[in-house]
Every structure is written in structure tokens, then in C-alpha cells.
């Protein structure tokens, strides 16, 4: 949630009072959560709503890893798929309930992230490609017929015995709340400040006493947890799925574009990006995918060229201009 306004001389506008900040933080968590909780009274398509919530959580996960560290995870779907299959294994092999299994899906994604921590040694395009390769490797592993007894291999996972449209819907609402809370806390925390410093200049951050590796690892694991929870609740919601569905690279791309469109490094930007763009996708992407791809491509180009800060940056700029026009500075 953009909150900083600077005047022409760079002086930051009045700092919000602590109670106002706490109120804004609380609203940032509660308002989206409440809107999603109430959305089913307006739109009866619960699978669509769950899918949008899943993308809100994924966009927030990208926000955590990209917005706070600069790592662009093209293989982000790997954590999503790990969460979905973790949930399936918990139900099918361990006999866990759906809620516990969804949480375990998040834990499985974190474990995968732990294994992939060495990827954080890479930067830029190297990291993006390596994370993509890791996700593809994980998809191959899960769909290996030799693992049929665990993952059911390429034959797909079936969670229909725990299927509950209502249960998965409320679980998705709860996970949205967790994701919003995580980003709000991270943004306000010293770790969040340190991650922003690391993103700006890791050498300077290190001389400031910041353990760069530990800070990045924290963001990486949190990001994986969010994707794993999203994958788990998505698996519960659709109940039958194949490896190709939950390890699809499109999931990563959507999450990244949604986050960038709304504005990474902010609290509400990824939520707005996910809701707006997924509704656009749902409106035309299914019936006329070629037009959607065209629109998606144009959106990506516009973001890259003119709006690197996303919609949030536009709002901040507008606030700054208003503040200047009204002399409301300092």
C-alpha cells in the first residue's frame, strides 16, 4: 500500500501517526478478506472466486520474493504444484483432513524451497531460468510413473473424498488473510526494511550489518509457504488434477504479471492486479484466448516501459501531484 509522498524537494510528507498506520494495516488485511468472504453472495461461481483468491495469494508470494528481494521466480509454479501434491499425499497417504492437508501442502512447498536455497546464489536471468528449470524438474519427478504409489504419477490426483466447495472457499479466504497479514507485517518489520535495502544494494546492506543471505532466505521461504498454501487450497477446491495443471508455467507468469501490474513492494497492489486481470482473463481469455494473449502482451509491454512500479506507482504519483498543487507538503 503506497504511503510515501514526497514533495518537490524530496521531503517526505507528514509521517502517519502510529494509530493511523495500525488502522491502515488492519484495514489492508481485513477489507480484502471481508470482500472475498462476502463475494459469494454476489457471484455464485465459487470456483472462479477461489481461483481469484489463489492468484491473490500467489501474487502476494511473488510480491514477497520479487518486491522485497528482486528475485523474479519464473518457476514459482513449482511451489504451487508442491503444495497441491503435498495436500494430495497428506490426504491419500496420511489420511489427513482437508484443512490439515492444505497446511501440510504449505509445509511441503517450504521444504522444497529449503532444498532450492542454493538458487539464491544466482541473480537476474540466471535465477529466473534456474527456478523455471527446478519447477519443471519437480513436475517431472511428481509425474514419474515410478512414484505412482505416492503421487499417482501422470494419472492425476483425486481428492474427491474430501471435496467441499464451502470448506475450500473458507480456507481460501483464510489463506488470503494470512497472505495479507504476512505482507503487512513484512512491510512494517525491520526484516522488510532490510530486504528493501538488500534489493537496492546488497553490498551496502551487508556493511550495514544485514545478513543478506539470511534475509533473502526468509523471504524465499515465506514466498514458498504462500504458494504452497495456495496450491493446497486449489487442489482441495478442484479435487481432481494432473501434474501439468498445477506445475503449469502459466501459473508463474500470471502471478508475476498480476503482481507487477498492481505494484510490487506494496500491500494492496498485487490484490488489485490479480482481481482485475483475472476477471479480464475470465471474461475473454477462455472464449477468445488469442485476444487475451494480445491484451496480456500489451499489458506486459506497457508495465515494462511505462509503469515499472505498477498501478501503485500511478497512485503515488497522483498523490504527489495533488500534494504539490494543494501546497500540502511537509
Amino acid at each position: 500500500m503506497p504511503e510515501r509522498v514526497a514533495d518537490a524537494s524530496g521531503q517526505r510528507a507528514t509521517r502517519a501517526q502510529p494509530w493511523r498506520r495500525r488502522g491502515a494495516d488492519l484495514a489492508a488485511v481485513l477489507v480484502p478478506t471481508a470482500l472475498f468472504a462476502l463475494a459469494r453472495t454476489v457471484d455464485s461461481n465459487m470456483l472462479l472466486l477461489v481461483t481469484i483468491m489463489v492468484y491473490v495469494v500467489l501474487a502476494q508470494g511473488v510480491n514477497v520474493i520479487y518486491g522485497f528481494t528482486g528475485y523474479l521466480p519464473f518457476g514459482y509454479a513449482g511451489f504451487f504444484g508442491a503444495g497441491a501434491y503435498g495436500t494430495y499425499i497428506a490426504v491419500a497417504s496420511l489420511g489427513a483432513g482437508a484443512v490439515e492437508a492444505t497446511v501440510l501442502g504449505g509445509v511441503v512447498a517450504v521444504l522444497v524451497a529449503v532444498v532450492l536455497i542454493p538458487l539464491l546464489r544466482l541473480r537476474g536471468a540466471y535465477f529466473a531460468i534456474a527456478s523455471l528449470a527446478a519447477a519443471l524438474a519437480l513436475a517431472s519427478l511428481v509425474s514419474n510413473p515410478a512414484l505412482t504409489s505416492v503421487t499417482n504419477g501422470p494419472y492425476g490426483a483425486d481428492l474427491s473424498k474430501v471435496y467441499s466447495a464451502n470448506g475450500s472457499y473458507w480456507m481460501a479466504v483464510a489463506i488470503v488473510a494470512v497472505a495479507m497479514l504476512a505482507v503487512v507485517v513484512l512491510r512494517r518489520s525491520r526484516l522488510g526494511l532490510q530486504l528493501r535495502a538488500v534489493r537496492a544494494d546488497q553490498v551496502s546492506a551487508s556493511y550495514a550489518g544485514v545478513n543478506v543471505v539470511a534475509a533473502r532466505t526468509g523471504a524465499w521461504l515465506l514466498s514458498a509457504l504462500l504458494a504452497g498454501l495456495a496450491g493446497g487450497v486449489y487442489a482441495w477446491s478442484i479435487s481432481v488434477f494432473y501434474p501439468t495443471a498445477v506445475f503449469d508455467t502459466t501459473i508463474s507468469l500470471f502471478a508475476i504479471v498480476f503482481a507487477l501490474f498492481g505494484g510490487v513492494g506494496t500491500v494492496l497492489g498485487p490484490v488489485v492486479g490479480a482481481v482485475v486481470l483475472y476477471y479480464v482473463y475470465n471474461a475473454i481469455g477462455v472464449s477468445d484466448p488469442q485476444y487475451f494473449q494480445l491484451i496480456f502482451g500489451v499489458v506486459i509491454v506497457i508495465i515494462a516501459l511505462f509503469l515499472p512500479g505498477g498501478l501503485a506507482a500511478v497512485l503515488v504519483g497522483a498523490r504527489r501531484r495533488l500534494a504539490l498543487r494543494g501546497g500540502d507538503v511537509r
Binding site: 524537494s9 524530496g10 517526505r12 526494511l193 537496492a200 551487508s206 556493511y207 550489518g209 544485514v210
Partner: protein
């Protein structure tokens, strides 16, 4: 916070306090390039050592090795007798070694105050006091990226000070500053030594500035130490004159 100015003319004699930093036979190779060649130097507690030499002589490489940005190819760096060579900068920052950069590297999207909040806090001084000390008291809420180059240098110094360094490595902080700003900086550095007991290695081209702050100088040329002693003696030393003037 601080007593009256401590910018009295420094002595050319090394202080008698114990040694804080020892650089022993450090060589640094970049492929075939020998950036440092068996460099040894020592800095005593409470001393300001000036590090001078022509461009490319290895001054910043020495700073980079001491501060952990580079691992020496051979040789070692000791802080209070304990080897610290090759330790990560964040560990050294927490152990009392910090530095400024020739080109300041603030976090541009954070305010000056937030730039200090990021840092590990090892100083006895509060952030506000440190900002006042370096002359940024009135600009604490400004975004670092929108500060002037001179103020970004002050912020770079402030961020290093927050960590409470016992050894501060100052890399050409005076470059590009006006005479007045240089005089202010000299006062600040001398105060840090006199009142906080800090020890410093100051890389600088400006001899006038070094005259104000340095107790001793070490002169480097082509990665090797060619002189160590008082600044006046250095300026009269034939080898030093040859390096700087030629002939």
C-alpha cells in the same frame, strides 16, 4: 553530545596505544594482475592512518580486503590480534569494522532515517544524534535518493557510524567536497577519534585534508607499500616524490 571541536593539529608520531589493526603480507591477485603485493601495515587504537598513492596503486583494494569485500590471495588481516580475513562484511560490521564508499551507496527509496534504521545498531549514539553529527539533522525524512551528492556522502558516513565501528575505513570521502565541507569533515573525523575512541584508515588524494586529520600516512605504489611515516616526511621522501611528480 560532543565537546568542543577536537580538530587540533594531529601529531606525526604514532600513538602509544595498543595495535588495533594488523595487515600482514597481503597479496591480492586479479588473474595475472597483482593488485596488492605483500602489503603490511598496522594501525594503533585511536590513530588515523592516511592511505595515499596514485590512481591504481591499490588503496581501495586495501580497504576492500580489510572490510571483507575481497578475500586476500595470501596474507592476513587481524583485528585486535584475531584474524578476520575473508569474513563477510556483515560479520565485520558487527565486530567493529565498517567503511564508507568512494561513490556513496545509500538506499535511495528509503529516507535518511530509515537508512540508519536498517543498520545493525552498535553505536552508543542514537540515530538522531548521528544524523546531527554528520550534518543531516534537518534532512532525516528526506529520501536518500533525493539528497545531494555531498549529503549522500554524509549519509554513507552516518550509516557506517550507526554500527558502532572501532575501525572506520574512509574511502575518499572528501572527493568533490568544497573547502568548507572538507574542514567540517575533518572536524567530524577528529571528534570521532577523540571522543568515541574510533580508529581510522583514511584513503585520500587531498594532502591538505590529510594534514588536518592523519597521524601517519602509508604510501602505496603499484600495489606495494613504498613509505610509512609522517605526512611531512612522506612529502620529502624521494621515492614518494618520484611516484607523484615523476623524474
Amino acid at each position: 553530545m560532543f565537546a568542543e571541536s577536537a580538530s587540533s593539529a594531529p601529531s606525526n608520531e604514532a600513538p602509544t596505544a595498543d595495535g588495533l589493526l594488523e595487515v600482514e603480507g597481503v597479496t591480492k591477485l586479479f588473474g595475472p594482475l597483482r593488485a596488492l603485493d605483500d602489503v603490511s601495515l598496522s594501525v594503533k587504537r585511536g590513530e588515523i592512518l592516511g592511505l595515499v598513492g596514485p590512481n591504481g596503486s591499490g588503496k581501495t583494494t586495501v580497504i576492500n580486503v580489510i572490510s571483507g569485500l575481497l578475500v586476500p590471495t595470501s596474507g592476513r588481516v587481524l583485528l585486535e590480534g584475531q584474524e578476520v580475513s575473508g569474513k563477510a562484511p556483515f560479520r565485520l560490521a558487527r565486530r567493529g569494522i565498517n567503511r564508507t564508499f568512494q561513490i556513496p551507496k545509500p538506499f535511495p527509496a528509503l529516507t535518511a532515517r530509515e537508512n540508519l534504521e536498517v543498520a545493525h545498531h552498535g553505536s552508543a549514539l542514537a540515530d538522531g544524534e548521528i544524523l546531527e553529527l554528520v550534518g543531516l539533522g534537518g534532512r532525516a525524512e528526506r529520501l536518500a535518493g533525493e539528497l545531494t551528492a555531498s549529503d549522500q556522502k554524509r549519509l554513507d558516513l552516518a550509516r557506517a557510524l550507526v554500527t558502532g565501528p572501532r575501525l572506520l575505513l574512509v574511502d575518499e570521502l572528501g572527493a568533490g567536497l568544497s573547502k568548507t565541507e572538507l574542514d567540517e569533515l575533518a572536524v567530524i573525523l577528529r571528534r570521532l577519534v577523540a571522543e568515541l575512541g574510533m580508529t581510522m584508515v583514511v584513503v585520500e588524494h587531498l594532502m591538505g585534508f590529510l594534514e588536518q586529520v592523519a597521524d601517519r600516512v602509508t604510501v602505496l605504489n603499484a600495489g606495494a607499500v613504498i613509505f610509512s611515516g609522517g605526512l611531512a616526511e612522506a612529502l620529502a621522501d624521494p621515492a614518494v616524490i618520484k611516484v607523484f611528480i615523476g623524474g
